[in-house]
């Protein structure tokens, strides 16, 4: 049995027998820690022989989610190599069941690696939510030693906006192109990057104080406006990638968002794709930083 440890957002993830399926990004988070892991994932070759429960909790176009007393079972509709995964409700354990036994000579293909990375991501998000962390769909960078998130629906222009900061020559450092793991530690809001970054290929193994979040909306004119803590909480919860499969999980998302919202700067950035959009956003952030946020 092969065991590897990874540290992401201050949590130790143990992976049994899945290393061949990992993408390079994951190895940037490898650690030597071998204490009790927070989350453990075991990859099982072709071992799923049970029947699925009759009624799914969720019936999505890509997957079914079943709930039993002890666990959630996530079954993919179309997946090249993974049959399903099981999240234990009351521990940090999960199992990934592969469809068939891989031949030792056959190396996993890109598609299989993508599937495995996505599955480990979803498992990690499930368990980390119970440990007070949410994943916020956003593009982000480090500026003034804090992480700033730009969040919006896919296609709104998150990455485009971040690239404007680079084009304007502002001193920013890329953090993550698709998500940030956010949580509160010792009274401070923290953002951690992760090996998962959508198709952006922008990630790092760093964490910083979370400065704030700007919710992007496309507009002809650029403007940045502050929002109330409660609006921030609601919008933050709506942008979570962490699961909201039922009331218990949704409550956890909302509780973490509620904890984070008063600790950060938040606003709505109405913007176009001109460099002035970054000027406007920078002005908003600088204005809040200079008054001690």
């Amino acid at each position: 049995m092969e065991i590897d440890y990874f540290k992401i957002a201050d949590l130790v993830l143990l992976l049994r027998d899945g290393k061949d399926y990992l993408q390079d990004a994951m190895w940037d988070f490898v650690c030597t820690e071998n204490n009790e892991p927070d989350i453990s994932v075991t990859v099982i070759q072709g071992g799923w022989e049970k029947d699925y429960p009759e009624e799914p909790l969720i019936n999505d176009r890509l997957l079914w989610i079943y709930e039993t007393k002890e666990e959630y079972i996530v079954r993919y509709r179309t997946c090249a190599n993974i049959e399903c995964y099981v999240n234990r409700k009351f521990t940090g354990e999960s199992m990934i069941y592969l469809k068939q036994k891989s031949e030792t000579s056959k190396k996993p293909e890109d598609l299989e690696r993508n599937e495995m990375m996505r599955t480990i991501r979803d498992i990690f998000f499930f368990h980390m939510l119970k440990m007070g962390r949410i994943a916020v769909h956003s593009a982000s960078f480090i500026y003034r030693d804090r992480v700033w998130l730009f969040s919006a629906l896919s296609g709104t222009g998150k990455s485009t906006h971040v690239s404007l900061w680079h084009e304007n020559g502002y001193p920013v450092e890329d953090f993550n192109g698709d998500l940030a793991i956010c949580y509160v530690k010792e009274g401070m809001a923290i953002a951690a990057s992760a090996p998962w970054c959508g198709t952006s290929e922008v990630y790092c193994n760093k964490k910083r104080k979370l400065g704030g979040i700007l919710f992007l909306e496309q507009a002809e004119e650029n403007s940045a406006t502050g929002i109330s803590v409660s609006t921030c909480m609601v919008r933050l919860a709506a942008r979570c990638l962490t699961p909201n499969w039922n009331r218990e999980l949704m409550t956890l998302n909302l509780n973490v968002a509620e904890e984070i919202a008063p600790l950060i700067v938040s606003g709505v950035l109405k913007c176009n794709t001109a460099p002035d959009a970054a000027v406007e956003a920078k002005g908003f952030i600088d204005g809040h930083c200079s008054i001690g946020a």
Partner: protein
């Protein structure tokens, strides 16, 4: 009448929201922001309640008179219709 368990009621600051969860979240149902009266009604129908019982509770809560009753009933009907249309009610 009863709120489906695929919605979650949450207070945020001075506002109240019904958040879609589970299948409703997957289906991109939207959250609903409630005013104070909407919040009162929603808390009453978290558990099974009949229309008439709900109307009585509203009359008591807002100390409504006979004169207020048509308006109260109309507003309740509109709100219940909105909840039904969004499939928030069982």
């Amino acid at each position: 009448m009863k709120i489906r368990d695929t919605y979650l009621l949450k207070k945020a600051g001075d506002s109240y929201f019904l958040f879609p969860v589970g299948q409703n979240a997957v289906d991109y149902k939207h959250m609903l922001e409630l005013n104070g009266t909407g919040y009162f009604i929603t808390t009453q129908i978290l558990n099974e309640i009949t229309y008439d019982e709900l109307l009585k509770k509203l009359i008591a809560e807002y100390e409504a008179t006979e004169e207020d009753l048509p308006i109260l009933r109309r507003d309740l009907d509109i709100f219940v219709y909105q909840l039904r249309e969004r499939e928030i009610l069982e």
